[in-house]
């Protein structure tokens, strides 16, 4: 295919030689930062650094060790390693003090009393509720399933309308705190428990399916974070699937905004419609899938499709959504989804898993089929072009992943 008219291009095509920024960055090794400092230097820091330096170096060593499947990195540090691995829930909350330096000043460690700073205490309680869902329901020990400490930094920068997972920790801004009250649109980002759980789940995904953060795999990555974000909140509130509002980011908007939250899993595209913020752009069905060249190919937009599929599954099953629907999605994330899985792969995998977990033809498996069907995706279909599973054997798929930066499968669209 060629671009026929300068300045015009069919949907989904990109001008030759021009790769969106999100593709360039996404093709870099995922754990670059972790691998940057050699293990011997980290061991030095872990033995001789300040407490904060030691913690960080040890954490990096643990991550590196898991990545390489080796234990040598921790040789000679038995005390430190054992302590870090043996403990259960461990949370640290830091105050970035409106700056950009992470993590900032430690203001609340595990078992410390509430500070009275809302953002600090919400980050502490929210990461605890998230740890509890993964631990109590899915038998998972923290983000890496090896007891990784949950680090959060609050009061990041000034007027920072965002929250993110930086590969090692959660970071939260205070919204529009720097504006006059009458002009504020966003509250602090710790205000919604599902936002906290959303960010932590990005960490879980990083350790498990490693869903590449662009196009359909990126939208799945986002959706997984919304799914478990919502489940943590539902469990904390004791709500069944029918009782829950399925809103992501409820309370984040100030009363000046015409909206109930950032996204709606129950009715994607309806969370807000505001003169200043515009309208919620999320589709609820594949026919409305948005091919865009921003937001890593619309990862926060098209996540509405798998979000709604999950909602329908939970609605069909009734009861507590984290028990059955959540378990299917969790096992898919842990064991089956891959870096370039697309929506069709997720449909096929969750449908198959529902059969394995609850029985072929079970109500659970039927519900999964209904969920994906309602958003226009077949549980038996082939991949839609973003994924590799099903098209290539495992070795070829691994090779294809390695070759992406050189213009492998992506070459088909540009």
């Amino acid at each position: 295919m060629t671009v026929s008219t300068a300045g015009m291009r069919p949907a989904g095509m990109r001008p030759a030689g021009m790769r969106p920024a999100y593709m360039r960055s996404a093709c870099m090794p995922q754990h670059h930062v972790h691998c940057f400092i050699p293990p011997h230097m980290l061991k030095e820091i872990a033995e001789r650094g300040s407490p904060a330096q030691r913690d960080r170096a040890l954490k990096t060593l643990l991550v590196s060790e898991q990545l390489r499947g080796q234990r040598e990195a921790l040789t000679g540090l038995p005390g430190l390693a054992t302590r870090a691995l043996a403990v259960g829930k461990q949370r640290n909350v830091y105050d970035a003090e409106n700056g950009s330096t992470l993590p900032g000043r430690l203001v609340r460690a595990e078992d410390a009393a509430a500070t009275g700073d809302l953002a600090v205490d919400e980050a502490y309680d929210g990461s605890g509720a998230t740890y509890d869902l993964y631990h109590d329901v899915y038998e998972r020990n923290s983000i890496d399933n090896a007891g990784m400490r949950l680090d959060s930094s609050v009061h990041y920068q000034q007027g920072y309308d965002n929250a993110f997972w930086d590969g090692q920790q959660m970071v939260y801004g205070d919204g529009d705190e720097d504006l006059p009250e009458a002009e504020r649109l966003f509250n602090r980002f710790t205000i919604a428990l599902d936002i906290i759980a959303h960010e932590l789940t990005h960490g879980v995904t990083q350790y498990e399916a490693k869903l590449a953060y662009w196009d359909q795999s990126g939208a799945l990555n986002e959706s997984i974070s919304d799914v478990f974000g919502s489940l943590v909140r539902q469990r904390a509130l004791g709500q069944t699937a029918v009782e829950a509002d399925w809103i992501i980011g409820a309370g984040l908007f100030t009363p000046r905004v015409n909206g109930v939250g950032i996204r709606s899993m129950k009715a994607p595209g309806t969370a807000y419609d505001d003169p200043v913020l515009g309208k919620d752009p999320q589709p609820a069905h594949m026919r409305d899938y948005k091919q865009v060249d921003y937001d890593n190919g619309g990862v926060h937009i098209n996540s509405g499709i798998p979000n709604h599929a999950f909602y329908v599954v939970a609605r069909e099953l009734g009861g507590n959504a984290w028990e059955k629907a959540g378990r299917i999605w969790y096992v898919a994330l842990r064991d089956r989804l891959e870096a370039r899985s697309d929506f069709a792969a997720a449909a096929r995998i969750t449908h198959s898993l529902a059969g394995e977990l609850f029985g072929a033809g079970s109500l659970e498996q039927q519900a999964v089929r209904t969920g994906w069907t309602e958003v226009g995706i077949s549980v038996e279909g082939g991949d839609t072009g973003n994924g590799k599973a099903g098209c290539l054997g495992a070795p070829a798929a691994a090779l294809a992943t390695l070759l992406w930066p050189l213009g492998g499968p992506r070459g088909q669209v540009g």
Binding site: A21, Y22, R24, S25, A26, M28, P29, Q30, H31, H32, V33, S100, G159, D161, N162, A163, F164, W165, D166, G167, F189, I195, H198, E199, H202, T205, Y213, W214, N221, E222, S225, G249, L252, I262, V276, L277, G278, K279, P281, Y294, D295, N296, V299, H300, I301
Partner: protein
């Protein structure tokens, strides 16, 4: 000087945009923004600033500055934005509207 600014991504996934013509701004404001462009050494900033690893929910920026004969576009991942460029991006963010 003409500046086109866009911010994408973030947890909320909302798009921010601004088009700034300094000639149409009050003199003090125009001078402030032009000074930020100079302070950022904008025309010498690499056109693509990618973060070493893709971080979930972070912002991406695209800024084009046209000044007489010169025109330069910078596309940057939030984590890769140099400190010298941050004040300009913060200023433009405050001038931007959503969608």
């Amino acid at each position: 000087m003409r500046i086109e600014f866009e911010r994408f991504g973030g947890f909320a996934g909302m798009r921010l945009r601004a088009t700034v013509q300094t000639a149409t701004l009050p003199a003090a404001q125009a001078q402030e923004i032009e000074a930020l462009v100079v302070a950022a050494d904008f025309f010498d900033v690499p056109p693509n600033l990618s973060a070493p690893q893709p971080a979930a929910d972070r912002f991406q920026y695209e800024v084009t500055v046209t000044d007489g004969e010169r025109c330069h576009t910078v596309r940057a991942d939030e984590a890769a934005v140099p400190g010298t460029l941050q004040p300009l991006l913060r200023r433009l963010t405050r001038m931007a509207t959503r969608n």
